[in-house]
Symmetry: C2
Subunit: 349 residues, 2 copies
Amino acid sequence: MAATVKDIAQRAGCGVATVSSYLNGGNVRPGNREKIRQAISELHYEVNETARQLKTNRTRMIGAVIPELNSTFCASVLSEIEDILRQHGYAMLVCDCRTDSVREREAVDFLLKRRVDGLFVLPVDETGSNLRKFIRTGKPVVLIDRQIEGLDVDTVCVDNRAAIRSAVDLLVQKGHSRIGMIAGPSGINAARQRMRGYIEGCEKNGICQNRDLIFQGDDSIESGTAGIETLIKMHPDMTAVVISNYRMTMGAMIGANESGIMIPQQLSVVGFDNPQFARAVHPRLTIVNQPVDEIGERAAKIMLERLGDVDAPEGSMDGSEDCANPECGHRHIWLTTAILEGGSVLDRS
Amino acid sequence: MAATVKDIAQRAGCGVATVSSYLNGGNVRPGNREKIRQAISELHYEVNETARQLKTNRTRMIGAVIPELNSTFCASVLSEIEDILRQHGYAMLVCDCRTDSVREREAVDFLLKRRVDGLFVLPVDETGSNLRKFIRTGKPVVLIDRQIEGLDVDTVCVDNRAAIRSAVDLLVQKGHSRIGMIAGPSGINAARQRMRGYIEGCEKNGICQNRDLIFQGDDSIESGTAGIETLIKMHPDMTAVVISNYRMTMGAMIGANESGIMIPQQLSVVGFDNPQFARAVHPRLTIVNQPVDEIGERAAKIMLERLGDVDAPEGSMDGSEDCANPECGHRHIWLTTAILEGGSVLDRS
DNA sequence: TTGAAAGCGCTAACAT
DNA sequence: ATGTTAGCGCTTTCAA
């Protein structure tokens, strides 16, 4: 059996409180300090965090509920978060709910029972009903990438509307006026915002006022392929297309590849996410690039702040829009995307 | 404060043992059963897993130490594992050690303190010294993708040697004889095995006996780019190249892209991993495809079996080579890869 | 079947 | 600064 504080106390010839004090960085007389150190080393003692958790009512574990681990966006953000959390002694419990709202609810309840100290969620269900039970505990929740209206929790998002709007702007600048869009499911707020960005961009530039150039996809690779093939068949006069997420971007590239669509001569493309992928396809893809590391970092910092492990970061409101309702006391961070230019947009001007 | 079994017992008018029995599926008289059910519902009671853990000395948590979450291979395997584990009530603690052996050791110790019931490791340090302390606890360890010689633990790997050997075979079949290789770091067993597969394939087919067509990369995107550019410059007579991992494959595509190398007319390519990426580049890439889901599934099943949560799977030795030393009692699963043909290999025969 | 009570390993309050 | 002790919420004997 593993050694306990009692064993250490016995061997060091002192009380358990002294050992506990030693473990938690309290004041211990040098003599005892040395004896305890030795006992710990001899007995291969390792603190039992479980017992500590029960006593202190803190698990130093944070849950993360995400739609799919196997997505560069999620993985990159989580990897950043995990790094920061662990530096502060927190462990991360990951639950992949496979883009399924029922599994998402189960995951939240699972983490609730395990008494995680906080929760990161990249929500699938955007009504927030899966989260209410957890929120009631008063423990911090940080939403990533998707906000839920009416839910009073911290949020770190990118400005999806502006992202796609600027993609449309770029295309218009380069002389395009028949611009299509491969959009995501209207049930996802982020996808809706991107769609709005497209519409706003078109309206602002006085193009494509009817929405016939929008292909309604479902964020899957397959729908990206279907999207580009459908749009180009139905609208031979279309000269450019913007794509609403990474998977559909990948799918569109597959479609272009397999249908022999020439990029950018025949069709200009602005994709979404993953600069490495963008460099690997030919011609290099112009994309909307999300600041994944910053998203993770901001989310982690907010969590640590709520947990009292770190002070509010200086300038914590920088580059971000405040919550519409300031007295809610929660952060709503909006980060901005950038366009990374490749060679997939033809200059027709 | 959250309700406890005591509160439930009080409200239901029974003892805590009865409540505990109810919670754990024991026999409880229907009258009590109903009263307890109601009390739980009214008080929003949720079992405190932490307390349960302390008492039962099992955390129902499994650690996973990996070199990088942000890699499709790791993410896919973990996602499969996590799915299966959670169905059996286990939570997964992920630690990304960023391909750093020191961080890996810290991660293992971190998980040890938190008393995880088992550990999945995709080892960076291949001496196994980072794992010994954990192994001494007698808790199960399952190694993924990389075996460690002399370490007596379960392992789930793919046959990397055969994988690359068959890639070479394919190229020879198609009439190639000057075949290059972009290899990974010799400190990584998997990379070494792939290199051996290349050498064996060449010897078997009587080609490239001197090793001048091997570029020594480091598994990074950058080294893939450097690899393809260097090889083609130094060896204009080379007609094909095999690449040892996914990142370098991506890097090689970037290099081909940016240096204007024509695939497959000028150079045939066999890449590694990620069938979706393979479809998205032009021409569609021929790749060595690892059975990621099966790797995750086998690893998870072995873990559950060791934990006593599941019986040994029927035919658990199928499609796998046994441990050289059968009395060690540990599984060494070898899964096979397949070649997924695209259009990146020119038929010169 | 059920209640009372011990105890998992730790921290913290209290007394010294 | 340190020893003694109670108790975190649960499971699990042991009696009844």
